[in-house]
Amino acid sequence: MASNALFANFFVLFVPFVVVSSAPAQPLRWGADAEGGAPYIFKDPQNPRHNIGFEVDLAKVLARELGRPIAFVQKDFKNLFLDLNRGDIDFAMNGLEVTPDRKAKVRFTRPYYIYKLQLVVRAAEKRFQTLDECKDLPGLTLGTMEETAAERLLDRLGIAKKNYDGPVECYQDLVAGRLDGVLLDLPMAQSYAKPNPRLRYTGAPLAEGYYAIAVKKDNEPLAAALDAALDRLLAGGELERIYSRWNLWNEDQEKLRLAAVADITAEAQGGFTFAHYFTYLVEGAYLTVEITLVSMALAILLALPIALARLYGPAWLRGLAMLYVEFFRGIPVLLLLYFLYYGLAGISEQYDLWIDLRLNPFTAAILGFGLNYAAYEAEIYRAGISAIPQGQWEAAASLGMSSPLTFRRVILPQAIRNILPPMTNDLVALFKDTSLVSVIGVVELNKRFQMLTKSGGDWVEIGLVTACLYLVMSVPLGYLSRYLERRWGVKS
């Protein structure tokens, strides 16, 4: 602390000089995630080009204190530490909780906010009131966000949890009945749960912790300057003014003045053992294969009638089939997954339907990829079938074979030889595309890899093991595709 203060004093003297001598100063790049990020940083409802939030206000006064402009850079919340260490941003400020393993990776400034966690349930919830009661009831699942203190607390208490990328989806699923409760930081609950009459707080806020700004470990001058600036903003009452404006000031914040840096300098925890993470990854690989195969089966089942409708159907059916293909080929599968999972659940909530559209993540994933790939497969089938010469139809007709019989016995068996090689190719593509399903909460192989490395695992080692698992599955498929191509492929 003493050396920090020394550095800071030096910096305070130094900064105005820099500004004067080499204006305009290069802006500091501030990384944060403005997606669903109230009250920290989020899109202004009046003007979506504009970000607002208490951290935006904080950044403004920090820029003034540092004498350097601060430029916001949109980053994925989960990847903030990676971006920081890669040098894409100069500092990350996004409600980042100070934890021991993070301290091993980055240099945290002094805390600028003291948060607590808030348990939120549906308004009608009667089964439990507190986190402790929740622990004693079997079969309950709480939602939280990945890479947060809330997630760690749930893990420590042994409460079943489901991870989300942002608070919006989390509370949405609670309303939809997919979750029994949500544990997140109080400021998030204040922004997203409190205004919703279907949700209510339960139990007192708990598990106090610190938000601090993360700076790259070797950028001590910047860290020290930020420490000093935050000290001044706190002492001058400016922090209190900003937090009060956002309704975030409470008596907990008084402790900011005491919160010694010593409190947040515990040692980092160790990594994972191979045996531990390998089985965890293999389970993920199994899920990946399962999603791939079931989706492909669905795609094949849908694609054949669509291809037949496009080839032989009456005009209106041909049009419908074409519409299907153009639509599902033209929209990103990610959008489709979001719609199937969150969109349908929303519709189910809003209208009293006879059918429950709140799909579980696995079903939504299968449907999404099945519908999407059916469009690609249908086009492959269509091309493969129409490549069979008209003379084959005529030869069969002259033998008295009906059209359906000809299709089944003469055309399709030949078309399959045209179809199989590109279809195997698509299977490999689908296999890799499945990593997208993590956005709706399916924890497959790629997601598991991300979670392991972000919880302190070795990037290179776990990355290699994950890559090997993917290759062990996809390379044989690739060989099969090339073999089929050689043997049966369309000769052009």
């Binding site: 084959q392 007709a397 002259s398 033998l399 008295g400 074979m401 009906s402 019989l405 016995r409």
Partner: protein, 253 residues
């Protein structure tokens, strides 16, 4: 093969248009059962279209085709139409480019229609297939894939395949045009055998030599009309009409 009463073929005013173009212009023709008829004439004259009309692969716009008691009216070419089905049962068709099913062996090609259309049990269909392959001289190629056969062998399998449905006649559409000279003869030899068995043969051909030797009648079709017909010796040696004379002169070179 057992045949009932012989069935004569009559075309009465058969007319076919492709858009503006008149391909068949009121063709009248009678073919007695068991006859071998060579259909010759310049390309684009309507020979192939006439053959395809007989088998319901192409519909015609006016006139009618009668085969014994069976009638094929105009504008019918759908495989589910009973009249079309009947015509296809009466005639087998052999194509210039063979159109064997490449994913089936020679024997399976021959067995396919008897099995799936007539519902013959496997053993009976195999027996029929083998005896037909023997008849076209391919008894020891039963298990060969089409890709392994020469052009002449392919065409003989195609003939066996057409015969497997026990037709009254064969419609042959330039079936030797894609073959080397030495391979043509093995195919034409098979046809001469079939003629001896009493099968009605209607063949579009450019083989003037074969027509002279084997045909009972030669029909010259040009510009959608029959310009001359009669015994080969008469038509080929001394054509009466200018159009037939012109055509035969170009063929002889």
């Amino acid at each position: 093969m057992t045949h009932d009463a012989p069935l004569n073929i009559t075309l009465a005013g058969v007319t076919k248009r492709y858009g503006e173009r008149l391909v068949l212009d009121g063709v009248n023709l009678t073919i007695a059962a068991g006859q071998t008829v060579a259909l010759i004439g310049p390309s684009g004259g309507g020979k192939s279209t006439l053959l395809r009309c007989l088998n319901g692969l192409t519909s015609f716009d006016a006139g009618e085709i009668r085969v014994g008691p069976h009638v094929l009216p105009p504008r019918r070419s759908h495989g589910n139409d009973p009249a079309v089905r009947q015509m296809r049962r009466l005639f087998g068709m052999v194509f210039q480019d063979f159109q064997l099913f490449p994913h089936l062996t020679a024997l399976e090609n021959v067995m396919e229609a008897p099995r799936r259309v007539l519902g013959l049990p496997r053993s009976a269909a195999t027996e029929r297939g083998l005896s037909l392959l023997k008849r076209v001289g391919l008894a020891n190629h039963a298990d060969a894939w089409p890709g392994q056969l020469s052009g002449g062998q392919k065409q003989r399998v195609a003939i066996a395949r057409a015969l497997a449905m026990e037709p009254r006649g064969l419609l042959c559409d330039e079936i030797t045009s894609a073959l080397d000279p030495e391979l043509k003869n093995e195919v034409l030899g098979v046809l001469e055998d079939l003629k001896k068995d009493g099968l009605t043969l209607l063949m579009v051909t450019h083989e003037i030599g074969f027509a002279r030797r084997a045909a009972d009648r030669v029909v010259v079709l040009a510009d959608g009309r029959i310009v001359e017909e009669g015994p080969p010796a008469q038509v080929l040696a001394g054509p009466q009409t200018p159009r037939a004379r012109l055509f035969l002169r170009t063929v002889r070179g």
